[in-house]
Amino acid sequence: MDKKVLFVVYQSPVGSLWTNEGFRTAFGMYGEDIEPSLLVLEAASTSLSKNTAPEKMGLLPIKIVHRFVKRYETEVFGVEEHLEKYGVKKENIDENFNAKLLKENELNEFFHSFDSVIFM
């Protein structure tokens, strides 16, 4: 049975590379017997907005991960309270992530459902 690994990103996607790194690391897991997922928390929640564009600052775009999310069917999660805190409206979530939204009070069981949870 595949090992379930959750990568957690919490830093802003503009000014840090952690969102891209989180996805890149997750995609690299498919060659092993590992089932990776990715959760964005706090400022990283803005990664899910279709209006977030680090490339406007000359930085690496987040959109480059979309085709791999689709190809590998990588599960992506966000937290409703954090999206609200950082002003990401549900209607603005980029559908390419096919993100599932959790509530903060669901995180405990969610974390414990994985073999490894790695905060990046």
Partner: protein
């Protein structure tokens, strides 16, 4: 049962989320700047078995007698790593 590893200090939002989502059966190891959490008032309300790395505690200027959680050495830490099946850190 999971090993929860806390290595960043009080200003880190991810560590706060980790510590808000532990279970009674988890083992929480405070290491490096995670030591600072063991000196807060909220340490007693965090669920799980809590321990801190002794070297990291002492090298930050604290005396063993001030510790609110048991202090362990790296050998004990490895034992915990080997024992726990799940990891959150």
């Amino acid at each position: 049962m999971a090993l929860v590893l806390v290595k960043y200090g009080l200003d880190n939002p991810a560590e706060r989320i980790k510590l808000s989502n532990t279970k009674d059966e988890d083992t929480i190891v405070f290491i490096q700047n995670g030591i600072f959490w063991t000196r807060t008032a909220e340490i007693n309300s965090i669920k799980g078995k809590k321990v801190a790395i002794k070297d990291d505690f002492i090298c930050r200027g604290y005396d063993e007698s001030e510790a609110k959680v048991p202090l362990i050495d790296y050998s004990n830490f490895i034992d915990i790593v080997e024992k726990e099946e799940k990891f959150i850190g």
